[in-house]
Amino acid sequence: MIPFDFIYCRPDSLKEASDVYIQLRNEGKTAVYYAGGSEIITMCRSGSIRPDAVIDIKNIPECTVLKIDAQKLHIGAACTLNQIKESKFFPLLGLACGRIADHTNQCRISLGGNLCGTIIYRETSLPLMLSDADITLYGPEGQRTVPFLAVFNGRMQLKAGEFAVQVHIPDWALEARCAHIKRTANEKIDYPLVNVTALWKDGFMRAAFCGICSHPFRSGQIEAVLNDRSLSCDVRAEKVLGLLPEPPYGDVEGSGKYRAFILRNTLSSLLEDAENGKI
């Protein structure tokens, strides 16, 4: 049971959602956008958040789009991980979705919720960081479509009252050579110790990571090393450890040292597989 009351709003349009957010704010109330609700409900129950209102975006048509047109795939922020996986439009993102939580939760957790939530892994961000994706946001100042990387630096940088509407992925990325490796401590279904996601464009390997640090990231320096074929796979993997944006993350699932060990081995075998044409 959630030990307090909140207001539940279910707008039918982007403008209604933003207007009700402003109206609630003007009444002195805090409101959060609500999609799958799995994180909001858990946090309300445990008392770590106490919003006065939730604004459910699942009835907004733009937020439930899942279609390919001229040169892009468009995915609404309220689409569930399972819908994205089953659509098979973007296999790399499908692989990420299929390894987040379990199947039943995948039928509920939304893309926007995974990107904008507080859980540090945000595993769907990795394919988006690699694929030159854009994101459409809507809020009190109107609508804007920007490169995903312009508003995602490990977590979403949203303006007050803004919410994610759709992501747009260029068609070159949909069928590009790719790899998704998620290592967990014990069970297949768990948070990642390390997630390494790779996508190749014009023979150049792009790579994004989560689990190894306290936020997902992509790094130009790391990609330069990964693509330096004058070095052996082992040496490249070792060098990456020295280029992490912060010391490896450690918690009860795995110490920083252990995560670094896993990352090095994972990268080394990924590079070998890539060079031997196994990917």
């Binding site: 009351d5 409900i41 299929g98």
Partner: protein, 157 residues
């Protein structure tokens, strides 16, 4: 736009019957099913989305009712174990296969299997069955029997 502020009468379609209940917008579907409708098949376990004991079927898909608000469930078809009637193939298969020990997880597993059958009327590949079953935990570790029950469910129909 729908807006609920304070206790509201919520109309829920559960097991093909319409029920009106007075619920707060922050009330969980699990609690409303159990405490207001007396449908106690869906069990509270972790209440965090991890164990699956609370699984029900919403529009033919499995859903963890501890992670869904009752107000959100309006307009959707909810099925709990009570709605299976005692004679569904999945129930017979669980009995035949002895797919339970203490039984606490059983209603959750039954609903996942019923949803699997709804989405995949013909037996899907083994990895699909595994993927769906992995959403639920059995502390008595009767996984082999549960797996067997899924096969029997498909054989029966």
């Amino acid at each position: 736009m729908v807006r609920y502020d304070g206790k509201t009468v919520v109309s829920l379609n559960v097991n093909n019957e319409t029920h009106e209940v007075a619920a707060r917008p922050s009330d969980l579907l699990l609690d409303v099913l159990r405490e207001q409708l007396g449908l106690t098949a869906a069990k509270p376990g972790c209440k965090n989305g991890d164990c699956g004991a609370c699984t029900v079927m919403v529009d033919g898909w499995p859903a963890k009712s501890c992670l869904m608000l009752a107000v959100e469930a309006q307009g959707h078809a909810i099925v709990t174990v009570e709605g299976l009637g005692g004679t569904a193939a999945v129930q017979k298969a669980f009995v035949e296969a002895n797919a339970f020990q203490c039984g606490y997880c059983t209603s959750g597993f039954l609903m996942v299997c019923q949803a699997l059958k709804t989405q995949h009327p013909a037996m899907p590949e083994e990895y699909v069955i595994e993927e769906w079953l992995q959403s639920n935990l059995c502390r008595c570790t009767g996984y082999q029997e549960i797996r067997k029950a899924v096969h029997m469910m498909y054989d029966m129909t």
